[in-house]
Amino acid sequence: MKFQALFGASAMTLAAALMASPASAASVSISCGAVGQELELCREAADAWAQKTGNEVVIVSTPNSTTERLALYQQLLAAGAGDIDVFQIDVIWPGILGSHFIDLAPYSGGVEKEHFPSIIENNTVDGQLVAMPWFTDAGVLYYRADLLEKYGESVPQTWDEMTEIAKRVQDSERGEGNTGMWGFVFQGKAYEGLTCDALEWIDAYGGGTIVNGEGDVTVNNENALAALKLAGSWVGNIAPEGVLNYAEEEARGVFQSGNAVFMRNWPYAWALGNSEDSPVKGKIGVAALPKGGSDGKHTGTLGGWQLAVSKYSANPEVAADLVMYLTSYDEQKRRAVKGAYNPTIAALYEDKQVLEANPFFGELYDTFVNAVARPSRVTGTAYNQVSNEFWNETHAVLSGTKSPEDALSDLESSLKRMSRRGW
């Protein structure tokens, strides 16, 4: 460890000497996005900040898959390496990675009070604000407004309705020769995205959040069973079998090429679905995800990304300044207008320009504020394993290799085994 610190320090000194720039200018590296628009938006903002402050920003591209990205971060931070100063972290990671980040409260000037309190609470570990919210996310339902209108259907309010409408529209469209049409696409691959989707189904039926706030395993209940039973009927019926290997982009690919009636996805798909070359431009609508039966609730899994500063950074103050810039009101507004990234600042949901670009932000405000959180705080470093068990069992239900009953009881027993000595 000492050796490394020494090595790191000397490398830093060397780098600083080579840079030979004014004392105030520093180089900060940030990981944000992988490719495409996400990276582009981040680059523009980082360049603007660099212009303003005279510092230099290096953008480190990281793997696009969140599981891969987390593994990378864990290794990097465990090694105490200063390669990345500012980390873009998922909403479920503060509990896992928190000990490696600095407290941002001294740099925020109290601005965190303007952000959604639930996210700030999520990002506070042991009394320290380890990350600033950058954008939030919640699962929403995309639908083909043109197709619903064509067949006189309305936007579904419950998952059962969604299933029926999807089936009807899909069959009618196929009858008209559109053989590639499917009713519903979502994230069915065995990865974190499936955990998000499945949590929404279960929560919509009032089936809880797998592990409750006290750390008890609650997933094996009637409501969760009802949710999984319905979900288990989708694949091959209204969803293509390939959905079992779909992440966000694969689902969007099918929906955006006009081959699906409904899609569960994050808000980012809105701007892309309405981009110039999109075949479904102007034909799509967004609604809250359906309820689980008439006494269920509309819900969406809390997603979104935060920015955190590494403890091992050579310039923590400068890095923190970048974080505060990127999470500021103006920057979040720019991202919302250009990329449909949901702000974490409540006031922005009343901003005219933001609402013009994303009409659904206003209607779905409640969904975003009340999004259901995955049990990452209570399960801490074991969250990955919990989620892995959950998505594997759900995947088995979707692919029909396990009955929902067996999957839930197996899940319960493996989670109980995992937590035998507390989380």
């Binding site: 992988a34 490719v35 090694a79 966000e248 090429s257």
Partner: protein
């Protein structure tokens, strides 16, 4: 009889064509796909129709792919050089000198080549961290040696054994040192074997994935296989299959050419490594 022979002949040629298609088609299709972009990618067709170099350009502009290739080249060449040097001296000792413990040593080396990579992963991770060469090319070079060194020693030893015994005796009688014997007498004779072994080691290091995935962090330090594996993701307008295929073609073509040029040597190296084991 002649009808039967004709049928036999047709069946034989059908088999040949089937084998050829089975072997070549996937690579052919990758090349084809690499020239398609946008929605052209999603119309599956097995005939070449588009020649669009956009993917090849964007592979290099959207990530440091040139740097990744350079990393792979540096790692593979260094690993081959180290393995060949250590392998040649060791092969001389193992192949030409009779001493106690030789069998055991050969057995150990063979066992190391059977190590599952994952079995040394955590220990190697720690070693690399301790040496302070995490997320750097020296770290990868060190890790790759476990794949190439045992194999190199093994194959070179097999070749070394085949050389006639009289070779070095005259030199020893003349009072030459063992090092002179190795460098002046065996080295020239071993060139063909070294080319073969070096090529196989090069391919092994070039293709290595797990270590490169685990021991590097930043895009700048990645080798080509990891870069390709992590290339997937959300590009704005299309699934990046075009880019992936372009990258795949770029890294595969040199290896395929090498293999085709040296195919006879490679076959002899493979058989020396396995059959004579």
């Amino acid at each position: 009889m002649s009808v039967q022979r004709l049928v036999g002949k047709v069946a034989f040629w059908a088999l040949l064509i089937a084998i050829a298609i089975f072997a070549v088609f996937p690579f052919y299709y990758a090349i084809l796909s690499s020239f398609r972009s946008g929605s052209e990618l999603f119309t599956a067709s097995i005939l070449p129709d588009h020649f669009d170099f956009r993917n090849y350009v964007s592979v290099f502009t959207e990530q440091p792919f040139g740097r990744n290739i350079l990393n792979s080249v540096v790692v593979a060449f260094t690993v081959v050089a180290i393995s060949l040097f250590l392998g040649l001296t060791a092969a001389y000792a193992l192949g030409r000198v009779q001493f106690t413990g030789r069998g055991l040593l050969l057995l150990t080396i063979l066992s190391v080549s059977m190590f599952p990579q994952v079995a040394v992963l955590s220990g190697m991770f720690e070693l690399i961290r301790t040496l302070g060469i995490y997320n750097s090319l020296p770290g990868l070079i060190l890790a790759n040696l476990i794949l190439t060194l045992p194999f190199t020693v093994w194959v070179l030893t097999t070749f070394m054994r085949e050389l006639p015994k009289e070779l070095e005796e005259a030199a020893y009688v003349d009072g030459a040192s063992p090092w002179t014997v190795v460098s002046k007498i065996f080295m020239p004779l071993m060139w063909p074997a070294m080319v073969t072994t070096g090529l196989l080691a090069f391919i092994a290091a070039w293709n290595e994935f797990l270590f490169a995935l685990t021991f590097t962090l930043s895009a700048q330090q990645r080798t080509v296989p990891v870069a390709i594996a992590l290339l997937s993701g959300a590009s704005q307008f299309e699934l990046p299959w075009g880019n992936i295929m372009a990258a795949s073609v770029i890294v595969t073509v040199p290896v395929v050419i090498l293999v085709l040029i040296f195919q006879r040597r490679i076959v002899s190296g493979l058989t020396a490594g396995a059959v004579k084991g």
